[in-house]
Amino acid sequence: MPYASVPSGAEAFVFGMRFTVPVLLFARYADELGAESVNIALASPATAGDVLSAVLALPGGERLPRAPMVAVNLRYAALGDAVNPGDEVALIPPVAGG
């Protein structure tokens, strides 16, 4: 059953195709990682959770919460949501607008 782990509803992808997505960081998360964005290398099929794991493994990533909010293409995403080439990912610290 080699395809059992393919997320249903995911877009078409090529197994193992390598690509990079920008991950935007804000507020305390940007301070902790010392950057306002990082590029994360992925292999398809990739998910928001894969991006998060890679960011948490960066220097300073250990100071982030284990499961921060993630956005893909300007929308809050579940960790199982697909990330495709051309997508913009962001980690969203607890918000403080108003």
Partner: protein
């Protein structure tokens, strides 16, 4: 419906005029301003930062939710980012509706959801020179609600 993240002063009167219509008998305007104290600690100034493109997308979604729930009504909202001084307006929301109850409820909905969902962050500057990112007490979603799925 119009929502915008702005880097200039907010003109609440312009927002009120924008929704003025003889079909809407009631307008409710919420104005948030920079307070001198937060949690008992004296504040001297503030920086607001936003993930502007997502903030406008999320704020649009909230305003459309409000307009769908309290129809026929109109929402206009601006949130300012950048450096703000004490007393500066950080956010203004107008809800206009034929009936006052709906105008109040829709305006309240937008500010409550904004504080929970819209990616804007605030760094307070204190009298002792320290600066610190703050989180909204009520709405802050610390971690991913579906984080446990993985």
């Amino acid at each position: 419906m119009r929502v915008e993240i702005v880097e200039r002063a907010i003109d609440a009167t312009a927002l009120l005029n924008e929704v003025a219509a003889i079909t809407n008998g009631a307008s409710v305007l919420f104005v948030g301003t920079v307070r001198d104290v937060n949690g008992g600690r004296p504040v001297t100034a503030l920086d607001y930062r936003a993930y502007s493109s997502m903030a406008e997308a999320e704020l649009s979604a909230i305003a459309l939710e409000a307009e769908a729930r309290w129809t026929p009504g109109t929402i206009v909202c601006e949130h300012r980012v950048g450096s703000l001084a004490l007393g500066d307006v950080s956010v203004a929301i107008v809800a206009a509706h034929p009936h006052r109850g709906a105008a109040f409820d829709a305006c309240r909905y937008v500010i409550e959801e904004l504080k929970k969902r819209v990616p804007i962050w605030k760094r307070e500057h204190y009298a002792d020179g320290e600066r610190s990112w703050v989180e909204n007490a009520a709405g802050a979603q610390r971690t991913h609600p579906r984080g446990a799925e993985r």
